[in-house]
Symmetry: C2
Subunit: 182 residues, 2 copies
DNA sequence: TGCTAAACGGAGACACTCTCCGTATTGTTC
DNA sequence: GAACAATACGGAGAGTGTCTCCGTTTAGCA
């Protein structure tokens, strides 16, 4: 990749992160291009679909996801609290910008989605937490990672859509946790 | 309302139901107007916001909702099965067209939403089922109707987004049910 | 320094939402 | 049944966003 291309690529991602945080996932891409000081052509060459840009933006917080998971696993307390805390962290992670939870969660099963890798990181993280609980013998039989990822993603999606604050989300996560634990 | 206005109103609703079912909630309204044989001005005069049109479309299935609830309440079987069956019915009801679950569920808390009345019918129905279970002493303490409505709405939303079939949705509803029941 | 492949960026085609206002229709009154 | 408000119609067009095409510019190599 040529130096100027690299420069523009990075600049677009940087600006897009800012704009998406401000205006949500539906923000105008021409606006992003303008703020980044490039033409729309340049933006669309680098990121043919909106999701490609989203994927690039998310690259940076993948590290944060695994880090958060590590932290969650060291939690000292009941299995139930561990799970609920993790769910809260998870919801926070995928709710970085408006529309994120829906995009991320609905891409979860799609093998050709541009943000597939991100989904894998997320369900892997979920899987690690569930494995831990399974090792404790705390989990009901037949609990499946993707199912849980979707369920919690669903909670995050409606929390995002309705601008719910964490206090309103918690009871829902408790229900999910209770439904998963023995 | 003048006769010609009434005629156009009805025709628009009829066509919109068809178009929304075909193309989902995001279908072009100008397309609806064209198919209904009216100008966009006429459509927007009757339905200033997309949601007003959605609301009119839904008017017809409100009856169906209460009817389905009645049926659910006569269910002969365990409380768990009753609840799960009802959830399945509920998901079916709000998934009539693409994007419906998200719209309906996120309008749930909003007191000024044009589809508020529909949301009320839905949460009322949910409330009736929950009351029944509460009367059986089957429900955990602190279970709140709106919370449950959102939770199941979340499941419906991601099922809608990911085109999940009922078989994939069921386990999630089971988890929710188990989290709600004693 | 010159050359070529790579990249740029903006004009503009296309789609959708929504409004304004001149025109047409309804239904009421005499 | 003719005239006249009041009501409703509908399409032109402004505003906004997506995305492409292609003439121009630039990087990087020889």
């Amino acid at each position: 990749m040529r130096a100027d291309a690299r420069r523009n690529y990075d600049r677009i991602v940087e600006v897009a992160r800012e704009v998406f945080r401000e205006q949500g996932y539906d923000a105008s891409l021409d606006e992003v291009a303008k703020r980044a000081g490039v033409g729309p052509g340049t933006l669309y060459r680098h990121f043919p679909k909106r999701e490609n840009l989203l994927d690039a933006i998310m690259q940076s917080w993948v590290d944060k996801v695994t880090e958060t998971t590590d932290k969650a696993l060291t939690y000292e307390g009941s299995d139930r609290d561990l799970l609920i805390h993790w769910f809260e962290d998870y919801v926070g992670l995928i709710s970085q910008h408006k529309g994120g939870p829906a995009k991320l969660t609905s891409a979860m099963g799609d093998p050709v989605s541009p943000i597939r890798t991100k989904c894998q990181v997320l369900s892997e993280s979920n899987g690690r937490v569930l494995d831990e609980l399974r090792a404790h013998g705390a989990l009901r039989d037949g609990v499946d990672v993707i199912q849980v990822t979707r369920l919690v993603g669903g909670v995050a999606t409606i929390a995002d859509n309705s601008d719910l604050d964490p206090a309103a989300v918690r009871p829902m996560l408790e229900v999910v946790a209770d439904g998963l634990l023995k």
